[in-house]
Every structure is written in structure tokens, then in C-alpha cells.
């Protein structure tokens, strides 16, 4: 009793709910609530981590090969961005404890910009995979050796990035205009502007990097291959010409490509002669859905086509990839929404050293979202 009475003296703040005895009790309840919520989040993701483990254990080679389609550089950039945002979140909590409003707002705005950059880079990654036909299992249209023209995608991404920058600036201006008599509204718009500008920057930078990296690869392979242009969406005609197409990111081994050309119309199973040699079974489009019964997996180092599983099997990797990163991205979006609200409240002086629960809870949530990415990044991008 005496402890709570003591806390009573200087912890009554205007946001204390009627059913709590003290502000301290309210803070502790909220904090425990957030930790419990985070435990549910961990279990929510654990389902997908289990699925990942089960499929990886069953088809290790496919996972390794499919992972080569992901760009570790982009994943690493996003990792750094998220780690930075975790730092700024932690810092913002410290700022509010020290009653430093400027620092609080600055750190929250940087956090939001980082979240924006993360989403921008993800946009680039998803767009390019969609163009290549690297969808989830049911929509998987990628064909070994295909080389879709990424030019229009890059162009589109560039415009998307620029439009986002424009929208971001516009949001900032709207904030200045609309926020003339409401500091909370003004800062909410600033927060949104920071996020969208971040997304634009992420989109442009990610796009520029990918384009550059592809240019290098292209250059290296140009000597060996004639130029093949493939329109996006032409996958229906796969089977013949794409198999002859030049190597894509994953297929660099010239021998394997030749082997592929030689066997691409073989329907039945063949036994691998050596581990180096590729044997594949490209079924005609009608059969692909019908028979993908199990048999021994035939693997090569470089190729994504598996005699036993059907050519669409790597789609399962991408199913898991999209499910995990997609659900993670939804959490980022939710975090952005909450942070905009926090910024708006912070601008209205709602937080003070005796009442900063919402900042801390949102920070905890953000750290968890960051932490999940810290697991996703190596599992999906790095493990070879």
C-alpha cells in the first residue's frame, strides 16, 4: 500500500485510466500486455518458420538453388535500414524519458523514413520477381533459361519511386497548410511524408542497384550468347525457345545449359549420370498440373528443374518466401500506422517522463518486427 501511495504522488497524469490505481500500474499493465502480444506474434510467425524448416529439410537442394534468385545485397541493405530504425526507436524512448521533445520527434521521423525505405526496396524485389515469373507455387511461371526483359520493369520502378518522392513532398506541403492550427495534424502529415519519401528513395536506390548488377551480368555473358528478348507474359510459349535462351542469374554453367538444350523435351525420368550433369523433365504445359508425383529428386548445382517434382517445384520456396516476407511487410505497415499516430501525439505534448507508455510499447513491437527480419534475412537470402 505504501509503495503505491508513494507512486501516487507524482505519477498522476492526464491519460491515466480510471480503473488503474496509479500511473505506474497502468504502465506495467501496458508493458506486460505488449510483451504477451509479442509472444503471440512470435508464435504466429513460428508456423511459417516450421513450414520453412519442414520443406527445407525435405528438399534442401531446391531451397539452395531457389535462394540464388534473391539478391543478398538488397536484403542486407534492408537489414541495415531496419537495425538503424531500431536504434532510433530505442533512442526516441530515451528522449521521451529525458523530456527531449525535439529528439523524440526527430528519431521517430527517421524511424518512419527507414520503414519507408524498407518497403521501397521490397517493392523493387517483388516487382522484379513478378516480371521473371518467380511467383508462389500456384502462379509460378518461371521457366529454366528464360530471360524476360526487365527494362520496362526498371522503368516502371523508377517512375514509381519518383512519384513517391513527389507524393511525399506534397504530403509535407499539405501538412504545412492544413496544420496551421493543429500541431498534431501537421506532424502526422510530416510523418507520412517522411515515410513516403523514404519509400521513394528505397525504390529508386534498389532499382538502380539491381539494374547495375544486371548490366554487369549481362556484360559477362554477352560474349557467349546471342541476345534474346522475351516479353513479360510470354511464358505460355515456354518449353522450346526459353530452354535455349541464355543463362539467367542462376544458370552460369555453360555445360549445364547445353545439357538442358539436349534433354528439354524428354518426358520420362532419366537417371543422373554424374552429379554435374543436368537431367530435366520439362513436361508439356498440360501435364504439369496433372502429374507431379514424387520420385527421387534429380539435382544439379545450378538448375531449378527437377525431374521428380516438376518444373514448378521451386515455387514452393517462393510461396514460403512471399508468405514470410509478405506477413512481415504487413507488420511493417501496421508499425508505420502506429508510429504516425505516436508522432502526432508526441507533437501535441502528450508524452512526458511520467507517461510515455505508448512510445515504449510501439518501440517493443518495432524491435520484434526487426528481430523477425533478422531471422528471415539469413534463412531466405544467405544460407547456401
Amino acid at each position: 500500500m505504501s509503495a503505491s501511495a508513494h507512486a501516487d504522488d507524482h505519477s498522476h497524469h492526464r491519460f491515466q485510466a480510471h480503473h488503474f490505481e496509479t500511473g505506474e500500474q497502468q504502465f506495467q499493465a501496458g508493458k506486460l500486455g505488449m510483451w504477451l502480444f509479442l509472444s503471440t506474434e512470435v508464435l504466429f510467425f513460428s508456423g511459417m518458420f516450421c513450414a520453412y524448416a519442414a520443406y527445407r529439410a525435405a528438399h534442401p537442394q531446391i531451397f539452395e538453388d531457389a535462394a540464388k534468385f534473391l539478391k543478398p545485397e538488397l536484403g542486407a541493405a534492408n537489414t541495415i535500414v531496419l537495425l538503424l530504425s531500431s536504434l532510433t526507436v530505442a533512442w526516441s524512448v530515451r528522449c521521451v524519458q529525458l523530456n527531449d521533445k525535439k529528439g523524440l520527434l526527430a528519431n521517430l521521423i527517421i524511424t518512419l523514413a527507414c520503414a519507408g525505405i524498407f518497403m521501397g526496396v521490397k517493392t523493387v524485389e517483388y516487382s522484379i520477381k513478378f516480371t521473371e515469373g518467380l511467383f508462389w507455387r500456384g502462379g509460378y511461371t518461371y521457366v529454366e533459361g528464360s530471360h524476360p526483359d526487365l527494362g520496362p520493369t526498371h522503368e516502371r520502378l523508377m517512375y514509381t519511386g519518383l512519384v513517391m518522392l513527389g507524393i511525399g513532398v506534397l504530403l509535407g506541403v499539405i501538412g504545412i497548410v492544413l496544420g496551421a492550427n493543429s500541431v498534431g495534424r501537421r506532424w502526422a502529415f510530416y510523418a507520412l511524408a517522411a515515410t513516403v519519401i523514404g519509400a521513394g528513395v528505397g525504390c529508386l536506390a534498389g532499382n538502380a542497384y539491381t539494374q547495375g548488377a544486371e548490366g554487369d551480368e549481362h556484360h559477362a555473358e554477352a560474349a557467349a550468347h546471342a541476345d534474346h528478348e522475351h516479353e513479360h507474359g510470354e511464358e505460355a510459349a515456354h518449353g522450346e525457345e526459353e530452354a535455349e535462351g541464355e543463362g539467367n542469374v542462376a544458370v552460369e554453367d555453360q555445360e549445364a545449359v547445353e545439357e538442358l538444350e539436349g534433354t528439354d523435351r524428354v518426358d520420362g525420368l532419366e537417371h543422373p549420370e554424374t552429379a554435374e550433369q543436368a537431367i530435366e523433365q520439362v513436361q508439356s504445359p498440360g501435364e504439369i498440373q496433372a502429374e507431379e508425383a514424387s520420385a527421387d529428386v534429380v539435382l544439379t548445382k545450378e538448375k531449378l528443374v527437377y525431374a521428380s517434382e516438376g518444373p514448378k517445384f521451386p515455387g514452393v520456396f517462393f510461396s514460403i518466401y512471399y508468405a514470410m516476407t509478405g506477413v512481415h511487410a504487413i507488420h511493417i505497415l501496421a508499425g508505420i500506422g502506429v508510429f504516425v499516430w505516436i508522432v502526432s501525439r508526441a507533437a501535441r505534448d502528450h508524452f512526458e517522463p511520467h507517461y510515455y507508455g505508448p512510445v515504449e510499447y510501439t518501440g517493443l513491437y518495432w524491435h520484434l518486427v526487426d528481430l523477425i527480419w533478422i531471422f528471415l534475412f539469413p534463412l531466405l537470402y544467405l544460407i547456401q
Binding site: L43, Y55, R137, G139, V316
Partner: protein, 578 residues
């Protein structure tokens, strides 16, 4: 000597505004943050779900009167038992005791003004409503014929729209359940009143606390599972669907990782109710308080380790099956401890056979049968024979319905005077208890026999066909047993309607309830009936919740009142004897 707040309130008149009449109008309910009103709204929703699920159950039973199936074609029959199961599990049993009665009484038993997060509590209710709407739309679209378990690959092959609708409903209901559990755990952890140590908490709170832990740790797994299932049905992501290289057994693992602990979400609050009611109606301190409290936690934890016993015939390895079987038996230990302690509480007690007590006695009988038949299913050899037969159906109805539903009704009768300030008619209450008990056993005991004779569950007919040959003798046995079961179901239905009628009639014709009609020593009996908006004027100080010696029957009040303290020792410092 200072009088306790309870004594001061005892002296005041009944004129003070209670939570029901403190404000009025639609908005005062729709946007209320009062845990009591939210509990009442939950109660109404849950009662409607029970009615709906019950009607489907009766349709199933009526259909099986004739061997060829009397009412529907096979497809419609599949939809009806699916809706019965899904509505009963997700809309009724899981939220039944915790969301309605737990919401109402958890803060009061803690002497608190509300749960820790009242807004989240209201959100939980509205999520329940939205989830229910999804279920009803799945029902109206028609074609949901997967069984409540949504097993792949069938659930991704049958019509997509109702499956997606229902799984989204499950997803949303999951969040509703998580919010309730989270609220309870935080409230119990941070808002206990002075004097209420962990081991002075009423056992109902222990069981809600354990339930909350399961809700927090298991429900998100169901959430991701049904999300992936929805994606599988629409986008074919190939995680569960073998046609797209998925693994259907993985779905079963995920599903039962939630749905087995969910069984304890359903039964633990019921056990809490029994632990609360028995000592009051036996006028005797609960026997083995700590064992009952900790066995709730033990059940919650062990419940996470036994999901594989639903999958003994789903191509588990023999070793896995043996391990899961062994772990399954371990759950029997804390359950047995509870039943033992309840019986020991009754031993040499002074039993008052109120309606609540009658239902509690049927709970003890039915739950014990349900629990013991669980051992048959937990042992590998018998399970292989009994898997997917009516034996399983009878087993889980004895536990879920004989356990959870019966305890829910017991709790309603016990707390009705507190919730609405009206006494129900004891005679009609007891008649309902008798009819429910007889009807229940007539319905489900024959199903044990049906199952051991080889009648598979979920079949629309039992006249025999290719793959399910039925001899003449078997047909006679099946028919007779199914008809006994259907007759029992009708009696059970009548009993439940009488129970509902008794409670509803009490609202209109019941005499005014005193503060403490049964002589309970937990905090809810010290506040007004019905409670005031903030429950208590002062945070009460509490002691042992199962000491009845300092309560005395007052014929004028027609209820119990606290004895004036005879010794200088305040009530809350007394220790239980023995």
C-alpha cells in the same frame, strides 16, 4: 474495529444505480467499456450461437433416425454437421465461460474496477461479431462441408468461397480470443487487490489465467494456419495441398497444435467454475487448493505436448506415436487430481442441492466418463480401431458438452442473481438439470456402443454400401442405438430450453436477489446485486476466498451476511483450518 467496505455496503439500501440502469440507450451498450456489459453482450451472442449449433445438432440426430438418412442428401448432411461443429467450437464453447462470465466476474473477483484494457475488451467482442458474420455468410453461401477441422486436401478441393469465408471467420475469432486471454493474464498479474496473493486467488481466476496462457500461445498458430489455408485455396501456394507439392500432414500438425490446447481453453474455465461452486454449495473449504490451482497450469502446459494423438493414423512414425501416447496419459494426472479434490471437498460437506449444484454433480459424473474414455483413445492399439468412429464423438461430447456446457449452465444459475439481481425458480431449474442429465446420457452413451460396433462418424447413412458393409444384425443394432440417441437428444433439447426459460423468466418474475444468496466468500458476493458501475466504492481487502464460517444466513435478507467480527483478528488474516 473498523468495518470492512463490504459491511458498510451491506447496510446501504438497494437504491444505488447499478451497471444495468446507470445509463440507457443503444449507444450506451454498443460503445460501453464496462466489462460487465461486454460480458452480457457476449452472453447474448454466445446463447444465439448455442441455439444455432443446437438446432444443427438436432437436425443431424433426426436425420440419422432412418438407416438411409431421413432428411437430407449426403452433401447437405455434411454441411450440417460441419456447421454444427464449427459453430459450437469457434462461436460457442471457446468464448463461452471466459468471454461472458469471465469478463463479468474476473475484475469483480479481483476487486478491480475493470479489466486492464477495456477498449481491447470491446474490440474483442466486435471481432467476435465480425467472425460470426463470416461464419453466417459461409453458412448462407452454403457448401461448407469440410468438417470443423478443415483438413487438406479436401478443404482446398471443395468449393472455395465458403471455406475461405469460414477460415477468415476463424482467423478473426482467433484475435478475439487472444484479446480476451491477454486482458485476463495482464489483469490478474497487475491488478490484484491488497491481500490477494497468488494462492489466495479464487480458483476460477487460476483457471482463467491458465486459459489465457493457452489462448495467447496456441491461437496465433491457428491464425497462421488458416491464413495459409486460405492462401492455399485461392492462390495454391503449395504448402498444404499435395497437388501443388504441399504436405497435408503438416496442416494436421499445425491445426492440432492449436486445436488440442483449444480443448483445454474449453474445459479449464469449466473446471474453474466447478472449483468455485462446489465449496460454496458444500459449505466447506475447498480441498487441496494449491493442487487444484497448479493442476490448471499443468494442464495448460501439458496440453501443448499432446497434439499428435489426433494423428495416430496420419502416417506418424511409430516412435512419435508412442511418445505422443505417453504424453497424452500424463494429462490424465492433473485432471485426476482435480476430480479427486472435488470429491474430497464434498466428503462430509453440507450439500445444498441448488440447481447450480445439480449441474455441478452432473459435470463430475459426465466429465469423469469423458476423461476415462479418453484413455482408451490415448492408447495406440485401441485408438487405431476406434479412430473416426462414434466412440470418439461420444468421448469428446462427454468432455466438451458434459464438461464445458454443463459447467457453463451451472455457472449461469449460480451467478444469475448477481448478474441481474433476480432469483430464478429453483424447482424448474432442478427439473432442467435432471432432464439434461438423463437426455445427455441417452444421447451419447449409445454412441460409445455404436463406435465400438464400428459405426464411423460423419456418415450420412448406415444402411451399408460398398466399403462400409453392414450386416443384418449390425443394422438392427445401429438403428436401435441411433434411435435411442436421437430420442435422448430431444430430451436434452427440452431440458436446455427449460433451463433457458427458467433463467429468462427469472428476469421478469424472479424475486429480488440479495447480495449473497448462496453464502459465497469470494468478492463478487460482497458487492451489490447487480453490481454498481464501478463494482466497488473502495478497493476491498481480501483473505481466503473459501472460508464460510464468518457468514450467516439472515432470513430477513433471504441471503447470507457477514458475522460481526468476534475476535480482534480481521477476517482476511484467518487461515483455513486443516
Amino acid at each position: 474495529m473498523i468495518a470492512t467496505p463490504a459491511q458498510i455496503e451491506q447496510g446501504t439500501s438497494h437504491d444505488e444505480k447499478n451497471y444495468l440502469n446507470v445509463s440507457s440507450g443503444f449507444a450506451s451498450w454498443a460503445f460501453t467499456l464496462d466489462h460487465k456489459r461486454i460480458g452480457i453482450m457476449y452472453l447474448v451472442g454466445i446463447a444465439v450461437s448455442l441455439l444455432l449449433g443446437g438446432i444443427f445438432a438436432l437436425l443431424v440426430r433426426l436425420h440419422l433416425w432412418y438407416p438411409a438418412g431421413g432428411m437430407f442428401d449426403a452433401k447437405t448432411y455434411n454441411e450440417i454437421f460441419t456447421l454444427h461443429g464449427a459453430i459450437m467450437v469457434f462461436l460457442f464453447i471457446i468464448p463461452s465461460v471466459p468471454a461472458s462470465l469471465g469478463n463479468f466476474f474476473l475484475p469483480i473477483m479481483l476487486g478491480a474496477k475493470d479489466v486492464a484494457f477495456p477498449r481491447m475488451n470491446l474490440a474483442s467482442f466486435y471481432l467476435w461479431v465480425i467472425g460470426a458474420i463470416f461464419f453466417v455468410s459461409a453458412m448462407l453461401i452454403s457448401g461448407l462441408d469440410t468438417g470443423w477441422t478443415f483438413y487438406t486436401p479436401y478443404s482446398v478441393e471443395t468449393s472455395t468461397a465458403p471455406v475461405v469465408c469460414a477460415t477468415m471467420g476463424v482467423f478473426i475469432l482467433g484475435f478475439s480470443s487472444i484479446f480476451t486471454g491477454l486482458n485476463f493474464v495482464v489483469t490478474v498479474n497487475t491488478m490484484r487487490p491488497p491481500g490477494m496473493t497468488w494462492f489466495r486467488m479464487p480458483l476460477f481466476l487460476w483457471s482463467l489465467y491458465a486459459t489465457g496462457i493457452i489462448q495467447l500461445l496456441a491461437t496465433p498458430v491457428l491464425g497462421i494456419t488458416v491464413l495459409l489455408l486460405g492462401l492455399e485455396a485461392t492462390l495454391h501456394i503449395g504448402i498444404f495441398d499435395p497437388k501443388y507439392n504441399g504436405d497435408p500432414v503438416l496442416f494436421q500438425h499445425f491445426f492440432w497444435f492449436y486445436s488440442h490446447p483449444a480443448v483445454y481453453i474449453m474445459i479449464l474455465p469449466a473446471m474453474g467454475v466447478v472449483s468455485e461452486l462446489l465449496p460454496v454449495y458444500c459449505r466447506k473449504h475447498i480441498f487441496g487448493y494449491k493442487f487444484i490451482a497448479l493442476s490448471s497450469v499443468a494442464i495448460a502446459l501439458l496440453g501443448f505436448l499432446v497434439w499428435g494423438h489426433h494423428m495416430f493414423v496420419s502416417s506418424q512414425s511409430a516412435l512419435t506415436a508412442v511418445i505422443f501416447s505417453g504424453l497424452t496419459f500424463s494429462v490424465a494426472i492433473p485432471s485426476g487430481i482435480k476430480v479427486f479434490n472435488w470429491l474430497a471437498t464434498m466428503y462430509k460437506g453440507n450439500l445444498y442441492l441448488t440447481t447450480g449444484m445439480c449441474y455441478v454433480l452432473s459435470f463430475l459424473f459426465l466429465f469423469t466418463i469423458g476423461g476415462l474414455t479418453g484413455l482408451h483413445l490415448g492408447s495406440l492399439a485401441t485408438d487405431v480401431a476406434l479412430h473416426d468412429t462414434y466412440f470418439v464423438v461420444a468421448h469428446f461430447h462427454y468432455v466438451m458438452m458434459g464438461g464445458s456446457l454443463i459447467a457453463f449452465i451451472a455457472a449461469l444459475f449460480h451467478w444469475w442473481p448477481k448478474m441481474f439481481g433476480k432469483m430464478y425458480n429453483e424447482t424448474w431449474g432442478r427439473i432442467s438439470a435432471l432432464l439434461v442429465f438423463v437426455g445427455f446420457n441417452l444421447t451419447f452413451f449409445p454412441q460409445f456402443l455404436l463406435g465400438s460396433l464400428g459405426m464411423p462418424r460423419r456418415y450420412a447413412s448406415y444402411e451399408g454400401r460398398e466399403g462400409f458393409p453392414v450386416s443384418e444384425t449390425m443394422l438392427q443394432q445401429f438403428t436401435a442405438l441411433h434411435r435411442v440417441s436421437t430420442t435422448g437428444a430431444m430430451i436434452l433439447g427440452v431440458g436446455l430450453f427449460i433451463a433457458a426459460g427458467t433463467l429468462i423468466a427469472a428476469l421478469y418474475y424472479g424475486r429480488r436477489a440479495p447480495r449473497n444468496p448462496w453464502g459465497g466468500a469470494t468478492l463478487e458476493w460482497t458487492c451489490q446485486s447487480p453490481p454498481i458501475h464501478h463494482n466497488f466504492h473502495e478497493t476491498p481487502t481480501v483473505g481466503d476466498p473459501y472460508i464460510y464460517a464468518n457468514l450467516e444466513w439472515d432470513p430477513d435478507l433471504e441471503g447470507y451476511k457477514p458475522l460481526p467480527p468476534a475476535s480482534p483478528t480481521p477476517a482476511h488474516e484467518q487461515e483455513p483450518v486443516g
